[in-house]
Amino acid sequence: MTRFILGRLIKAGFILLAILIFNFLLIHAAPGDPAAVMAGEAGAADEKFLADLRERFGLDQPLYIQLWTYLQGAVQLDLGFSYRQQMPVAELIADRLPATLLLTGVAFLLSLSLGVLAGVAASARQGSWGDTIISTLALLFYATPLFWVALMAALVFSVWLGWLPGFGYSTVGAGYTGWAHALDVAKHLVLPATTLGLFFTAIYMRMTRASMLEVSRLDFVKTARAKGVKRRVILRRHILRNALLPVITLAGLQAGQIFGGAILTETVFAWPGIGRLMFEAINQRDYAVILGVFYISGAMVLLFNLITDVFYVIIDPRIRLTG
């Protein structure tokens, strides 16, 4: 196992490098460059201005040299400099990371626990009213556009009821510290995290339910019943455990995106996270930032894929992995 993990980590390094090159070429293939965008925002610029910018950003160099320079930095974990934001990319990402991690992390835990729970509940009473209600809700959640839900949530809980702040990360200028600050952030977190979580909740719920129904008809469940094990325990220990594999896969996928942030949610709720940073960077062709975010989130995806694989082996001892 240890060898497997080490092997994978080494390979991950190479993939990351390959992905980096691919990403680099990909985003340079998109029309426009940061100089043009920056000049564009000023509403006027002459060629000299553009040329100056390009020289400053190093965009006047041939592409392969730019790539080489970037890679040299990247392997030393130097993610470059954002000219647009006038900050080292690493610093920029580090700045935004806590907010994103908080949001996606909470949404992840929330959706996973809620989704699995609802899925278990629904499958336990297949065909009953409870099942119908849960299934319908789940359907509603994932068939409704995220931004619609987000906006409605902000409308109801923020504008109409005034219970929760509708945007932002904390109350600006309130100067809270310690617990008051934590509480403040938590309040701000409620809407975006639930909105983001709802969709995944629905997915986990459906997946869990389908998988549980499948497993609940296997013979060993009968054995467990014959032992006099309580229904609840059977559900959890025997059925759920055996039904978990696809859920784990999805959870691994979601977890991999944890650093990639949530573009739409972060935008709608003005959450100062990576997703927004990335989206803005794409629009502004802030190459170093895009690549930096892709790099970090790519590394996370690889890591979580590895963790998922390890989980497979833990969950299902029959699975053997070599690599």
Partner: protein
């Protein structure tokens, strides 16, 4: 096959789903005949609420266009986006996942690293970049959506196959001299079906919504009426003209519902243990 139909038919939900889907498909096909004028035509004053004007039962949008005509014409694109991109994603994801899970070792390694290649870029961002590079025509929107949606399929299928390949009935099939392809297709995949069906029905919804998010960001094909476009466009007026996002939202919801019911019916009909009630 006949048997399968009988079983499918007995599932009331599945039949309802099929009916809804049939209606949607029929609408998509018939739209140009029922509403021969372009859905983009501005026919009345903007923001006419539903049921207030004869001939415009669902009212008008921000530019005074007929919402009903839009819904009818939009059905085609949304279905196309949803179904085609899902089919493409399945067509890539299932084989990749199945081969990786079945052969483990080097094949798995190669295929999964390949998948990771696509997986590492946050999917929405990848779609945006792809659409920034290529002109967002309908084809490219579909391709972009398919490209970002297959890796989850591949990983899911792989996980299932990894677990199934060690079962004794697979060993038995090997001894029977079945080729790898047959074992995968006839023994492993059918047993991995429930999560795949769930994921597929989710993906259709996701594709339709992704298209809407993309057109909301100005990256859809603005020359084609779709439900996603309608929702995206109605977003800014959600407060003043709720029906503009509600109606296409309902259309998507119904379609997704239908696909889910069908999926569930399919799942049940294909599961031998669920059939043959003793009544």
């Amino acid at each position: 096959m006949k048997d399968f139909w009988t079983r499918f038919r007995f599932n009331r939900g599945a039949v309802i789903g099929l009916v809804i889907l049939a209606v949607v498909i029929a609408t998509a096909i018939a739209a140009p005949f029922i509403f021969p004028t372009s859905p983009w035509k501005m026919v009345q004053r903007p923001f006419l609420p539903p049921l207030t004007q004869n001939g415009l039962p669902l009212g008008t949008d921000a530019l005074g266009r007929d919402v009903l005509a839009g819904l009818a014409h939009g059905a085609y694109v949304s279905l196309l986006v949803g179904l085609v991109s899902t089919v493409v994603a399945l067509a890539i994801g299932v084989p990749v996942g199945a081969l990786a899970g079945y052969f483990v070792g080097r094949v798995d390694d190669a295929l999964m690293r390949f998948t990771e290649f696509f997986q590492t870029i946050p999917s929405f961002a990848l779609a945006i970049v792809l659409l920034a590079i290529f002109q967002p025509s309908l084809t490219f929107v579909i391709i972009a959506i398919a490209i970002v949606s297959w890796p989850p399929v591949a990983r899911l299928v792989r996980g299932e196959v990894l677990s199934l390949r060690t079962r004794e009935f697979v060993e038995a099939a090997t001894l029977q001299g079945l080729g790898n392809a047959q074992i995968i297709l006839r023994h492993i995949l059918p047993n991995a079906l429930p999560p795949i069906i769930v994921l597929a029905s989710l993906m259709v919804a996701q594709a339709i919504l992704l298209e809407s998010s993309l057109s909301f960001l100005g990256l859809g094909d603005p020359n084609i009426m779709s439900w996603g476009y309608m929702i995206g466009a109605a977003r800014t007026v959600i407060r003043t003209a709720w029906w503009l996002s509600f109606l296409p939202g309902m259309a998507i919801l119904l379609t997704v519902l239908a696909l889910n019911l069908i999926g569930e019916g399919l799942n049940d009909a294909l599961n031998p243990r669920l059939t043959r009630k003793s009544e």
